[in-house]
Structures are given as C-alpha cells and as structure tokens.
Amino acid sequence: MIDSGSSDEALLSGMAMGDQEAAVVFVRRYQRRIFGLAYSMTNDASVSEEVAQEALIRVWRHAPVFDHRRGSVTSWVLTITRNLTIDALRMRRAVPTDPDDFAASAMLSLEHNPEDAIGRGDVSDLMRAALADLAPEQRRAVVLAAVYGRTALEISDEESIPLGTAKTRIRTGLIRLRAAVERVRQTEGER
C-alpha cells in the first residue's frame, strides 16, 4: 500500500512496476528539492522547471535500474538533477549562479542548529552548517567541484590560482565535510 509515508525505496519499487500513485507521491516529495537545486544553480525559473521535469521523468523511467547499494535515493535524484542542470547551462551558454551565492542560499535554508541536525540525522542541515564553517576559498572550491562539476584545472583557471592550490582547497574542504557526514552516520549507527 503506497501512501505519503512510504519510503523512497518503496516508491521507486512501485514506480518500477508502473504504479502511478507511487509516482505522484514521489513527485510531491521531491519536486521542491529538485527545483530548488536547479534554481540555486541557474537562478532561472524557466530553465529550472525544464530541468526538474526532465529529472523526474528520468527517475520515473529509470526507477527499475536504481541500485540502493550504490547510494541513497536522494543522492541519485540530486545527481541526475545536477547533471541535467550542468548540461542545460552548457547548452545555453548561460552563466551559472556564483558559487558564493549558491552557498549563501544554502545557508539561508538552514532550519536547525548543527547539534539538532545530528540528532535528527539531517545530513542536509549538517552539511549546510559544515559548508558555512569552511574557509571561504575552500567552500567556493568544493561547490565548484561538487555542484558545478568543475575539475581542479578548471577551478585553477577560473579562480586564477595555481593548480596545486585548487587541488588542496578541494581536498581539504571535502575532508572537512566528510567529518560532518560521518557524525550523522555514526549517530545513526548508534541508534
């Protein structure tokens, strides 16, 4: 029985079987996150709607091949969205949102303080706090790499910094974010 309380995995399984009710619940659960990610990257409502629609259609079509061993449903869905948004930006030769603005909008959406976020197992809020806690140059490098898919060489060119510096910022920033994710995972493991 599919309802609004069904797990993501159950909804995907239902979608894989062609269950339209599962699709409706899934869309309503994820549309704001998907549209929010696309809009945060593009600052363009029209492009974001196109991306969000395409992302959800792909999830609907590819639900049968989702492999939970490779990551969470949320990661899968947001990776599809991110990749489609990058493609849309490239095709239109559009200027993406500045990484600092992306990070600022993320900070704006923080809903709980970090300790509460750990208790709730809320990776998003904890990552927002961890991202805010990074040195600005590390935060910018991590967002450019993790969200916009920029390589270290591209970041080096765009930021006018040595390649080694770009690599160090990416690595150091991600290692610090890893600590935040691990705190949530450890808390979940203790439950």
Partner: protein, 238 residues
C-alpha cells in the same frame, strides 16, 4: 608521514581521492588512482566516505516550490493520470525558500557567523521584524520585511558581530534586472551596500555591511533608474 618512513603507494594516491570522489579526476590520474583503490581496502574505505560527503553537497540547496502548473505539465508528460495539485496553503514563489523566513534568516545569520569564524552559541528561535533579536549569543541579528505599496515583497536581515553582514531576499516583487541595496543610518546618511540582479521578481543576496548594524534605520532596494522599489525599517527610531 613519519620522517624516514618509506613512502607507501597510498601516499601517492591519497591526494587524488577527493577529486575521484567528486567525479572530477580525469585521464591517467583517474585510471591509476582507481587501480590503486581496487587493491587497497584502506583507500577504498576513504574513497567511500569522501563519496558520501561529495554526494551530500548538492543536498544543501534550499527547497523551492516549483511554479504553479508544474505537476499538471509533468504528469502529462509522464502519462500519469492527472491528479489535482495539492492544496497549497501559500504559494511559495521560485527563488524563495519554502520555510519560515524569520527563522531562516535568524539561523542564516548564525551560520554566516560560523562562516566568519566567530565563536558563538545558538539561540532557539526567531525574532520580530525590525527588532534586535535573540540571535546567536552575544551578537545582534535584526530582521525586517521589505515592503512595497503595503505588501511584503521580501526581507532584510542584518547580522552584527565583528564582521557585520546583510542578507536581502526578494520574492514575487515584480522586480527585474540589477538593483542596488542601500541602508540609511541614524544620522540620515545613505550608504550603498551593493548591487545584485533580480530575476522575474526574485533574488537572494548577501554582502558585508560596512556600517554598524545597530545604526541602520532602514534598508532600501533601488532600481537602476533610482526608484526606491522596497523599504525595510530595521530599528525603531522611537
């Protein structure tokens, strides 16, 4: 690495693991690092942890309500039987976060405080528009609605502390293009804070504030032709 210790293969590849986790390592570096990870449980474990972190970065983006009609258009393309869109208590327009603005802005200021490296505690709630707030312990946060013709079209948040900051959000303001944000201090002097671009009425922006936040009496969003689009009263003059 311990002085005198012989370098291990891990030393050679560990620096690449973050980029591999982010999917941005290319060419020979990628192939060589992947080959090493295949034969090294320690680096494989490290890569898995970094990959979780890399995947989680995209999840920080705010949730934003898609435009009206989104579901109808989507379900039509998916071939899903049309279902009435859920009743929306309030249409949250693109560009605005689908959460309580007052709490969001209060916490945003606190997070920015963290970003600025300040040692602070956390408050447990939001605050009233135009008034100094609880905010992070020991610092002052003020929030006020931006209004135009009596309607709320956004909000302004100032954060005190050693590095003052200001955040402006516009939502459904009808504003398009470059706008300037100015603040007026108690001595009547207008200070330009910076410019940002509003698109389809929406925009969110933050910048360092070069005047003391407690001196700010009002904030104004000004169009490129000098017209004041919206005003927020930040501190009671009375």
């Amino acid at each position: 690495m311990i002085e005198g210790a012989r370098p291990t293969p891990c030393d050679e590849y560990s620096d690449n693991l973050a980029e591999l986790a982010l999917g941005i390592l290319t060419g020979r570096e990628r192939a060589a690092t992947l080959a090493h990870v295949d034969s090294c449980p320690r680096c494989a474990d490290e890569l898995e942890q970094l990959s979780h972190a890399a995947d989680a970065v995209a999840s920080v983006a705010p949730e934003i309500e898609p435009p009206m009609g989104f579901e109808v258009r989507l379900f039509s393309q998916m071939g899903v039987a049309e279902t009435p869109e859920r009743s929306r208590r309030r249409l949250t327009p693109p560009g605005s976060v689908a959460r309580s603005p007052r709490w969001v802005l209060a916490t945003a200021a606190a997070v920015i405080a963290l970003a600025l490296g300040l040692s602070i505690g956390w408050s447990t709630g939001g605050h009233n528009g135009g008034k100094a707030a609880d905010g992070p312990v020991g610092v002052e946060v003020a929030t006020a609605n931006l209004t135009a013709n009596g309607s709320t079209v956004g909000s302004v948040n100032t954060y005190g502390g050693s590095k003052p900051w200001m955040i402006v959000t516009l939502a459904d303001s009808g504003t398009q293009g470059k706008v300037t944000c100015e603040v007026v201090t108690g001595d009547g002097v207008t200070h330009k804070v910076g410019s940002f671009t509003a698109k389809d009425g929406y925009g969110a922006w933050g910048a360092p504030l070069r005047v003391a936040p407690q001196d700010v009496r009002k904030a104004e969003v000004v169009s490129s032709n000098g017209k004041v689009i919206a005003i927020a009263a930040l501190h009671d003059v009375s």
